[in-house]
């Protein structure tokens, strides 16, 4: 499954303003443009399709109630990333997410090698073993392509903390996969 092709008419600030005024068509366009990003952050965090969709839906419902506070399309993207991350953290605190056991992760690591076409999928599964903040930092870095300073802004954490989460998270993944740094 890959990300959907971008819409031919990406949302702009005017569309955002129309959505804020209650235009459902404009809001639908906002959803369609950003739904893959929001769903993917939740999916990579939870590795549970149904719950990822539930969180993503709640994020957009919250957005609908908050549209008047969104200043621009760039602000919208930032807001969506931040709120999705916060909801993922809340979800993990409730302890409802599926835990990948040590045995499962070890099985994944044993099976992983250079020629394994499922390596990317296994990496995604192993990500579930990381602490929530490390998982989010890595997701923002590799899914969204954000720089550490941008990750710090989205996750509301100091730059050095972000770097530490990235270093430790990547280190753990490398160790589980038997990859040398």
């Amino acid at each position: 499954m890959s990300a959907a092709a971008p819409l031919p008419f990406p949302t702009n600030d005017a569309n955002l303003a129309r959505a804020a005024e209650g235009d459902h068509d404009a809001f639908e366009m906002l959803i369609r443009e950003h739904q893959d990003m929001v769903f993917s952050i939740a999916w990579h965090f939870l590795h549970d399709r149904d719950r990822a969709e539930e969180i993503a839906q709640e994020v957009f419902l919250q957005l609908y109630r908050t549209l008047g506070e969104i200043e621009s399309n760039a602000h919208l993207t930032f807001w969506l990333r931040r709120v999705t991350a916060n909801r993922c953290i809340d979800e993990s605190r409730r302890g409802r997410w599926r835990i990948v056991t040590l045995d499962e992760a070890n099985d994944v690591a044993r099976d992983a090698d250079d020629s394994d076409p499922l390596l990317a999928r296994k990496l995604g599964q192993m990500l579930q073993r990381l602490p929530a903040q490390q998982r989010l930092a890595i997701t923002m870095r590799y899914q969204e392509g954000l720089e550490p300073s941008e990750i710090g802004a989205v996750l509301d954490m100091p730059l050095n903390t972000v770097k530490s989460h990235l270093r430790r998270g990547l280190g753990a993944l490398r160790e589980w996969l038997g990859v040398k740094s």
């Binding site: 499954m1 890959s2 990300a3 959907a4 459902h24 809001f27 639908e28 959803i31 369609r32 739904q35 893959d36 990003m37 929001v38 769903f39 993917s40 999916w43 990579h44 399709r49 969709e53 993503a56 839906q57 957009f60 419902l61 609908y64 090698d113 250079d114 390596l119 990317a120 999928r121 296994k122 990496l123 995604g124 990500l127 890595i138 997701t139 590799y142 899914q143 990547l170 993944l173 490398r174 996969l177 990859v179």
Partner: protein, 97 residues
């Protein structure tokens, strides 16, 4: 093995499930439908209450009318009894004379 490239591939964006936007929009409509349904129920309850109230008032009025009619009938009968008794007294007095 390019670890970071593999990680980026593992974490590439996924497509949201089909119909995702429609489901969000339908959840936006749901509270409105619930409100509308609630208003319809309140309106129905008001109409029902008014109808029952009207029926009860009608029955009370009818009951009072019946009571008043019965009271008037009893008063008439009493008056006739009194008049009849007076007539008999008068007849007896005439007969003695």
């Amino acid at each position: 093995m390019n670890f970071e490239a593999d990680l980026a591939r593992a974490l590439e964006r996924k497509s949201a499930p089909d119909g995702f936007a429609d489901r969000v929009l339908s959840r936006l409509e749901a509270p409105r439908r619930q409100t509308s349904s609630l208003l319809r129920r309140i309106a129905a309850a008001i109409v029902l209450t008014a109808a029952l109230g009207g029926l009860t008032a009608h029955q009370i009025i009818e009951h009072r009318r019946n009571e008043e009619g019965e009271r008037a009938r009893r008063q008439l009968m009493t008056a006739l009894h009194i008049a009849s008794a007076k007539m008999r007294v008068a007849q007896r007095a005439v007969a003695h004379d």
